[in-house]
Symmetry: C2
Subunit: 156 residues, 2 copies
DNA sequence: TCGAATAGTTCGATGGTCGAAATGCTAACC
DNA sequence: GGTTAGCATTTCGACCATCGAACTATTCGA
C-alpha cells in the first residue's frame, strides 16, 4: 500500500500541487513565476541579514544578468523591493523588501500554515520527527541526482 | 526539532529542489518547462488509456489554445508526441507519446527512483505508511487552499 | 595615474504566450 | 439534403520575458 512507487507518486503530486498554488497566487497578485521566485529568495536573504545583490540573485535563479535587471525593475515598480547602493562598495546593489512584500508573504503563508497545521494535527511528535527525516533525505537525494545530471554531457 | 514550521520549511525546500531538477532536466534535453509539464500530462493520460486532446491539455495547464498548439508543434517536431485525428469525431485530436518520449521518461525517473529507494531504505513499512498519510494530507490541504484562493477576489 | 577587473544596466533580437479571426468538422433543424 | 449553429483546433499579429553583447560606473593593483 505504501511502497516506494506510491511514495514517489505522492511526492510528485505534492510538488505539482504546490506548483499550481504558487502559480495561481502569483498570477492573482500580478506577479510572474520568476518574480515570485525572486521575491522569495530576496526575502529569505533579507530576513537572514545578508541582503542579496542582483548578481547573486541571477546566479541563484539561473537567469542572465539582464533578465535579472528586468525582474528587479518589475518588483521595484510594483513596490515590493528596493535597490540601495552598498555604502562600502558603490558598484554593488543591495536588495531589500519592504512592508508590501512582507504583507504579501504573510498572505501567502498564513492560509498554507493554518491548513497544514490542521492537516497535521493527527500526527504525533514522533511521527513528525520521522517525516522530517524523510523530507530531509528526499531533499538530499534530489539534490544529489540534480548534481549528477548537471555534470554529465547532453544528448542533443 | 520537528515542529510544524520546520515541516513547512522542509516541504518548501523539497518543492524548490524538485523544481530545479525538472528545470535542469528539461533544459538538458532541449525542452522548456511548459513542454516538460505537457509531456508528463500527455504520458499520464496515454498510459491510462484515455489520450488527451489539445483542448483538455490547455485546460489542465491553464494555457491558451494557441499556446497549446505551439507546445504541441514543438513536441511533435522534436519527435516526442504524435497527433492523430480521432476516428469517431474527426474534429478531435488525440495526443500520443512515442518511444522517444517513453525513453525520456525512463531517463527522468530512473535516477530519481534509485536515489529515493536508497534514501528510503532506513524507513520501516510502518513509517512509510505514516509518511504516505502525511503526503496525502498535505496534498489535500494544498489543493483546498488553492481552491479558496481561486474563489476569492483579487486586490489589484 | 592608468589599466584591468567587477557590478550592474541598456540595447537589439529571439521566441513563447496571448486574443481574435480563420479553418475543418459535426449535429440539429427545417 | 441543404443550411445553420456550434465545437475543436490552428493561424495571425502583437506583446513582453529572456538572452548576449556593448556600455557605464566603481574599485583595486602596479
Amino acid at each position: 500500500m505504501a511502497d516506494n512507487s506510491t511514495l514517489v507518486r505522492l511526492l510528485r503530486q505534492l510538488v505539482v500541487e504546490s506548483d499550481h498554488f504558487v502559480g495561481l497566487f502569483g498570477e492573482w497578485h500580478g506577479l510572474h513565476r520568476t518574480d515570485m521566485n525572486a521575491l522569495v529568495l530576496i526575502m529569505d536573504a533579507d530576513r537572514r541579514g545578508t541582503p542579496l545583490s542582483p548578481g547573486r540573485l541571477a546566479g541563484a535563479m539561473h537567469l542572465s544578468a539582464s533578465a535579472t535587471t528586468s525582474v528587479l525593475d518589475r518588483l521595484e515598480s510594483s513596490g515590493h523591493v528596493e535597490r540601495a547602493r552598498s555604502t562600502t562598495d558603490r558598484r554593488k546593489v543591495e536588495l531589500r523588501v519592504n512592508d508590501k512584500a512582507l504583507d504579501l508573504g504573510r498572505r501567502f503563508f498564513a492560509p498554507l500554515n493554518s491548513a497544514y497545521t490542521a492537516a497535521w494535527e493527527a500526527f504525533s511528535d514522533e511521527e513528525k520527527a520521522t517525516i522530517a527525516r524523510f523530507l530531509l533525505a528526499s531533499i538530499e537525494a534530489t539534490a544529489t541526482v540534480r548534481g549528477e545530471i548537471a555534470g554529465s554531457p547532453g544528448d542533443r
